[in-house]
């Protein structure tokens, strides 16, 4: 099939960018969206142009590196990562807009590449259980009810791609933050740091310049891993609990 692509080109963080139109021919429906971009890039290199820069790595939907806005949707029309989106979901002759994540806290680095290091700093603020290597008790010392283990797993699936932030009209990172808070706070191993974790991670999130949550729900719709919207409510509950507890001290 043949497509008309309109791709955001931006040389670096300082210079302004613009949408540039390219015609791409010879697209197979079995190609992934990124393989379609590879095809465009091979052509651009040979014609002496610079290829379109985009982040990608595992191409199996698990590393969270890739992610672009396709026709206005983070990761495009299917509920998956950009690397797992296949061209069979497009029609011959379509015009497709390809843009980077748009969010104040994710500055553009080049073309479709953005800086998501704010996510790492949110995790560093408390998204862990403090257990130095060697200090762990026997694994079966603390059974975890299956329902809690499943709840933890469901939230631990987050791949940190940033689609939630890109989809949110406020550029909020509430879904990302709540996924980690809920994963660790439900487990008995995470209980000792339950309050400091949620308070510190939410503070870090605010300091990074992410917007507030108005429950638009776009984040959960865009999430390729299906982190559910009620996660945010669960985090708010944790935050309230921790705040009350802190004020009683």
């Amino acid at each position: 099939m043949r497509l008309t692509l309109r791709v955001w080109r931006q040389r670096n963080a300082e210079e302004p960018g613009a949408m540039v139109t390219y015609d791409v021919d010879g697209i197979s429906e079995d190609m992934s969206f990124l393989e379609m971009l590879d095809t465009l890039n091979e052509k651009l290199i040979l014609s002496g142009d610079e290829p379109v820069a985009f982040d990608h790595d595992c191409r199996e939907g698990i590393c969270g590196a890739c992610g672009v806005v396709i026709n206005g949707d983070a990761h495009g029309p299917e509920r998956t990562t950009t690397c797992q989106l296949h061209m069979r979901h497009f029609e011959d002759g379509d015009t497709v807009d390809v843009e980077p994540w748009r969010a104040g806290a994710f500055p553009v680095v080049k073309d479709l590449v953005v800086d998501r290091s704010a996510f790492d700093r949110i995790i560093g603020a408390g998204g862990y259980i403090s257990v130095p290597t060697g200090a762990a008790p026997e694994a079966h010392a603390t059974p975890v009810p299956k329902a809690d283990a499943d709840f933890a797993f469901e939230h631990a699936e987050c791949i940190g791609c940033g689609a939630c932030v890109a989809a949110c009209p406020n550029g909020s990172a509430m879904l990302f933050t709540s996924a980690k808070v809920n994963h660790l706070n439900v487990l008995p191993q995470g209980a000792p740091e339950r309050e400091t974790r949620v308070l510190d991670m939410v503070s870090a999130m605010d300091e990074e310049g992410f917007g507030g949550c108005t429950l638009a729900g776009e984040c959960a719709t865009a999430c390729p891993k299906g982190i559910p919207l009620p996660s945010i409510a669960a985090m708010n509950k944790e935050w309230l609990r921790a705040t009350r507890k802190a004020s009683r001290r």
Binding site: S28, D30, S32, E35, E42, L44, I45, L46, P51, A53, H56, D57, C58, R59, E60, G61, I62, C63, G64, E78, T80, Q84, H86, V109, K110, V113, D115, R116, S117, D120, R121, I123, G124, A125, G127, Y128, I129, S130, V131, T133, G134, A136, P137, A139, H140, T142, P143, V144, K146, A149, A152, F153, A156, E157, I159, G160, H183, L184, L187, Q189
Partner: protein, 655 residues
């Protein structure tokens, strides 16, 4: 510089002095790790912060090592090419992690895990290392559970396990089909805690391009900031490479697109021996390629072989849809040939089985390059819900890629390059032949011999990173007191930076008419054809003749647009291909010199009557450690003899 355009290649080599693992203690195998830890010198806790350790890579091995060294009080400077340490390719490991917990009471023990791993590796790994790995396996599960890794659990709240290929016990712990992701996030979170505490300086989007060796010791690296293009030097008292394997030399593999061999290859060029490069693992259950546009291959976890049955039609060229092929016209070839292990034979055997039936013209799908992995029986027996619970995300992934529903139609699978058992030669302390340079995880060659068993890569990466290296590196640091004696003006640093810049400038200057990917594909296809699942002397000689020609053409025709002073993904790729073009040559030479078959290395000239790999223990019971002698020059072979006192080498039998 002449080495860029040198046409020379090699098919011969010289043999140097044997190499010995001088750090491995003697005595009963079960006591050696305790002995080594006791004999190793320690660094006073108050002195540790004066020592800087560079760690390259943030996967299971690197992430675990960086976090643990920082917890111990060392100053860690860590690097990854990805935008975040959370994205290292360990994240894509699906199936699970082995540990000799014996929670199932099914006869498992540390000794059995040790035995299975030595046997599974076709008797080409060291007993000392493998036993240590089995011992540490139980601590890893404890550590990960304490970190909050959400392993699968039973209704009683205890951990669930499953079986993997090559073993008859259920010792594999898992988190649905995303075990690697969950283990990596555990290590990443521990690392993030140390980054936030200021004990780890994390350099993301920064790629190591060379090693700095001063007075025979590893003292730093040259790395390029991938955003600004700036090439800089970083110094330390020791350097740890945790940069993964070299499977991407084949272009199509299950590795991440940017996984590369540059860190290990540059270290090899600076004096670190490279061991057993021909021991590459071909995973039997990957989604077959769909066309020339294919950029990578996707694995379907080996755990699927627990419940999926592998078959092809009995008759050649049978193109009926699978549902129309009656039971008695199907060949469940693994169950037929290996009744006791059935579909759970080791990976090398399952892969060759698939190749053989496809070569006979009984393969299925486009081009006949595939076999069925059928869940109909499991769905009938367990119910669709139970199958979904175990493998839901894998089935979803399969359907997304192929547009076929595996609950209704059998999966089609075909082998693909997945893992590399070879890597930098290391001693028992995981130290390379360059003092102060350590290699951990897939980057080293140590524990899997000629074939790795499923769910053992995660075990080894975490064992090296959490437990082995943080103990053994103390000994080196204690014996080599800290000196603040070098900076960027040191002649060796200046030389390494100049060579790196020269290479990058040269890549930009050629301005030819072929893309980096086109060369990468060419070398990859050559390797897959002549140094893939089956290898022959004739084919390997052909490949060794062709590689120097491709290298020469590369430096004449490569085209890299843009400049070096910015984010330039073409330049990154081209620079990695430079190293693949040399590594490929060593890989083929190693495969040519090892005229036996063992594990993942199958020489057609050396097989049993039944078509199984035939080892030649008298000739080849050694690890081949190669010393670099210059681009296109014959390397020097150093043999490390392997001794088996506990697991007697036999013809592996899974029948």
């Amino acid at each position: 510089m002449s080495e860029y355009t040198q046409y020379a290649g090699y098919t011969a080599y010289t043999t140097g002095a044997p190499v010995a693992d001088t750090k491995a203690p003697s005595g009963p195998v079960a006591e050696r790790w305790d002995t080594r830890r006791f004999e190793a010198r320690l660094v006073n806790p108050a002195n540790r912060r004066k020592h800087t350790v560079i760690v390259v890579g943030t996967g299971l091995a690197g992430g675990a090592a960086g976090a643990t060294l920082a917890e111990q009080g060392y100053h860690v400077v860590q690097f990854c090419y990805q935008d975040s340490p959370r994205r290292a390719h360990s994240i894509a490991a699906q199936g699970g992690i082995n540990a000799a917990k014996n929670y199932r009471n099914d006869g498992d023990s540390i000794h059995r895990l040790f035995y299975d791993t030595v046997k599974g590796g076709d008797f080409r790994a060291r007993e000392s290392n493998v036993h240590r790995l089995a011992q540490i396996s139980v601590e890893i599960i404890d550590q990960c559970v304490a970190q909050g890794v959400p392993f699968a659990r039973e209704y009683g709240g205890l951990l669930d396990t499953r079986s993997f290929g090559g073993v008859q016990v259920s010792r594999t712990f898992y988190a649905r089909g995303q075990t690697g992701q969950q283990l990596l996030l555990g290590a990443y979170q521990a690392l993030s805690r140390q980054i936030a505490a200021g004990r780890v300086d994390m350099h993301a989007r920064t790629e190591m391009l060379d090693l700095i060796v001063v007075d025979g010791r590893a003292r730093g690296i040259v790395a390029r900031d991938l955003i600004t293009g700036r090439v800089d030097t970083y110094f330390a008292d020791a350097v740890v490479l945790a940069s993964g394997g070299y499977g991407n030399v084949f272009y199509l593999s299950t590795n991440a697109k940017n996984s590369n061999a540059t860190a290990v290859w540059r270290a090899h060029r600076r004096g670190a021996y490279f061991a057993n490069p021909c021991f590459t693992q071909i995973h039997p259950t990957c989604i077959p390629r769909s066309g020339d546009h294919q950029s990578k291959l996707t694995l379907m976890s080996e755990s699927l072989r627990n419940d999926g049955r592998i078959w092809v039609p009995r008759a050649q060229g049978d193109t009926r849809p699978p549902a129309d092929i009656p039971e008695d016209e199907r060949d469940y070839y693994l169950e037929r040939a290996y009744p006791s292990f059935g579909n759970l034979v080791p990976r090398d055997i399952a892969s060759r089985g698939a190749k053989n039936v496809c070569d006979e013209g009984r393969g299925v799908g486009p081009g006949g390059q595939g076999v069925y992995l059928d869940f109909a029986d499991a769905i009938r027996r367990l119910g669709r819900g139970a199958v979904e619970e175990k493998y839901g995300n894998l089935f979803e992934m399969y359907e997304r890629i192929t547009a076929e529903n595996p609950y209704e139609v059998p999966m089609r699978i075909y082998p693909a390059i997945h893992y590399t058992m070879g890597g930098l030669w290391v001693d028992y302390d995981l130290q390379t032949t360059v003092p102060g340079l350590f290699a951990i995880g897939e980057a080293n060659f140590s524990d899997h011999g000629a074939n790795r068993l499923g769910a053992s890569a995660l075990m080894q990466g975490l064992a090296d990173g959490y437990f082995v290296l943080p103990s053994t590196i103390n000994d080196y640091l204690a014996r080599n007191p800290h000196h603040d004696d070098i900076d960027a003006s040191h002649p060796e640093a200046v030389r390494a930076v100049a060579e790196t810049n020269d290479r990058l400038e040269r890549l930009l200057a050629v301005d030819g008419d072929r893309t980096p990917d086109s060369f990468h594909k060419e070398i990859g296809e050559l390797l897959w054809e002549y140094c893939g699942m089956a290898r022959t002397e004739e084919g390997l000689r052909k490949a060794l003749g062709r590689i120097p020609e491709i290298r020469e053409e590369f430096w004449r025709r490569i085209k890299v647009p843009g400049t070096g002073e910015e984010l330039n993904q073409s330049l990154e790729k081209a620079n990695r291909v430079v190293d693949y073009l040399e590594l490929a040559e060593l890989l083929c030479l190693d495969a040519l010199h090892r005229t036996e078959s063992c594990g993942g290395h199958f020489r057609e000239e050396s097989q049993t009557e039944g078509g199984e790999a035939a080892r030649k223990d008298e000739e080849f019971s050694y690890a081949a450690a190669w010393e670099f002698a210059g681009t296109g020059r014959a390397p020097v072979l150093h043999k490390e003899a392997l001794e088996f006192a506990y697991v007697h080498p036999t013809q592996r039998s899974y029948a």
